[in-house]
Subunit: 322 residues, 2 copies
């Protein structure tokens, strides 16, 4: 606005995006009008989440364009997974310092790879000039009463986590220290796996659920606050990847696992009666899950070491912001 | 991420926002979980639009926080108006360089004033650290077949516009030139009026519709391209505010009116048989509308002066991006 650009880049860019997107039968009108027109299935609730990634804040500046594209959708789909919802559509707002079409093409490679894998249609959004920033809004469905919420944990529930938390935080430490950089850990930072199949399968089984974006203890504390309960985590139960075990000593690793963010794994609670059922779901969806603790009366999420001592993290929990 | 902030500002900020929002009966779950749960009325299409405002690009750096809040929602509601949709919910992603709570409170003053005026519930979003940027996604409803689209203009339709286009562009010129700054014009730049009542009333009457964000001729050209028609605008029919007439000579004013952006007025087309009906709607909704031209066979949107000569703008059309 303060400096009107000289040409019609915005329309080129939107056309560039439109050419590559897939549609769905429930998209009445997609990219190209003032708004999208969409059909929500009768009897389903609409589920909406919105997350933004800023360059240098949410991803290292050296992140490949395709990985930025993947991650910007993945962190949003992870929110739908944590609700037990089935994804359907997304909108994308892309702020770019210049009209670098090669970067945009790379970004779309990663973004659309993940969108197409989950049958998600990109139906609209915005392209603007500004510091590199990506906002995505995702839309999905869930049957009323099936949604996994933060406020439904019950005393004596088991606490479970998917995957191997700590990997993304480990990659960040390696990136900051500029020493060894493990490719597996970095891939967990750049290309998190939204646990959509697991989340949907858990909708009938789990009580509370959240995705681990701020750190396991911090996110579990959100569940505790909303559910008015406490949680106890056994540190030596936390499932760790081989890469993380090799790269960090035990104390550092446990800190990364308990407080590191950006894993986008699901942390959920369920009745101990349902352990077999949850193991079956894990097997059926190909998603490893591990029982790591218990919900108890009280408040806050605390971790205990192998000797039953209350654990204090080596560094502060992970905070996106401010 | 590269510099984890030192405290729990994000949660404070979200709580600060949550305390001030109104809800609606169709919001099953709003701010505070991984995603919002919403009820779409049976038989209605969901209408979704997303727009981003970046500081220094979409608003002058000296814009008051409340005006930034108002405008970031207004430009989105304007997209719903252009579809003839009824607004319902929004999500907000706010990127801030620091946790300036006074700025956030001011921003919310403007944002929520407009939201509450139209019964729109803020149901979720994100707060991140980064250069000042606001992304909003709005959700509304429209009955199938009633939506106003860009691709429905027909040859011999009248072309209409609401309000007095050019005011926002006039304010920008005054802001850039740092001379006289008219408060009325500035208010049209900072606090555009989303024409929701007009848009909804036109849904049964108008053929095509678009909101004027990039400039009247540029946006009408989008309608022409989508509808495979041409458009002819009579320059001396363009309705101008007194403030704009006083501030600019005729040639400059006409350029601002035909090519200036950021007015968020509705430009729509309708059969000449419906002129009386449209005048009644304008009166009933308290929104001035003016007939400014005609749809014809061909392509592109062109303007003609009082002597019937093809008009050439004094400067290039307004482009947000790049």
């Amino acid at each position: 606005m303060t400096q009107p650009p000289s040409d019609a880049h915005e329309f080129d860019l939107i056309e560039r995006i439109r050419r590559r997107v897939h549609s769905r039968d429930d998209v009445v009108l997609g990219i190209g009008d003032d708004a999208a027109l969409l059909k929500v299935p009768a009897g389903q609730l609409l589920v909406v989440a919105m997350d933004t990634l800023n360059a240098g804040v949410h991803f290292p500046d050296d992140t490949a364009a395709a990985d930025v594209g993947w991650k910007s959708l993945a962190v949003n789909l992870s929110d739908l997974a944590a609700m037990g919802a089935e994804p359907a559509w997304c909108t994308l707002s892309l702020s770019l310092p210049d009209g670098d079409t090669r970067w945009v093409d790379g970004f779309l490679d990663g973004f659309l790879e993940l969108a197409h894998a989950h049958g998600v249609a990109l139906v609209g959004g915005d392209t603007t000039r500004g510091p590199l920033s990506i906002s995505v809004t995702v839309h999905g469905f869930v049957a009323p009463g099936r949604a996994l919420r933060r406020d439904a944990a019950r005393v004596d529930d088991d606490v479970w986590v998917s995957g191997t938390p700590g990997d993304a935080a480990g990659a960040l430490v390696q990136w900051r220290e500029r020493t060894v950089r493990d490719a597996f850990l970095r891939s967990r930072l750049d290309r998190p796996t939204p646990r959509l199949t697991l989340g949907a399968a858990l909708a009938d089984v789990a009580n509370a659920c959240i995705d681990v974006s701020d750190g396991l203890l911090a996110d579990l504390a959100h569940v505790c606050r909303a559910s008015k309960v406490g949680a106890r985590i056994e540190l030596d139960r936390l499932p760790a990847s081989d890469a993380l075990r090799v790269a960090f000593d035990e104390a550092h690793r446990q800190t990364l696992q308990a407080t590191g963010g950006d894993d986008y794994e699901l942390c959920f609670t369920a009745s101990p009666d349902l352990r077999d059922e949850i193991e079956r779901i894990a097997l059926g969806t190909g998603t490893p899950v591990t029982r790591i603790g218990r919900i108890e009366a009280g408040e806050g999420a605390r971790a205990f070491d192998a000797r039953g001592r209350l654990w204090q993290p080596g560094r502060a929990g992970y905070q996106h912001f401010a």
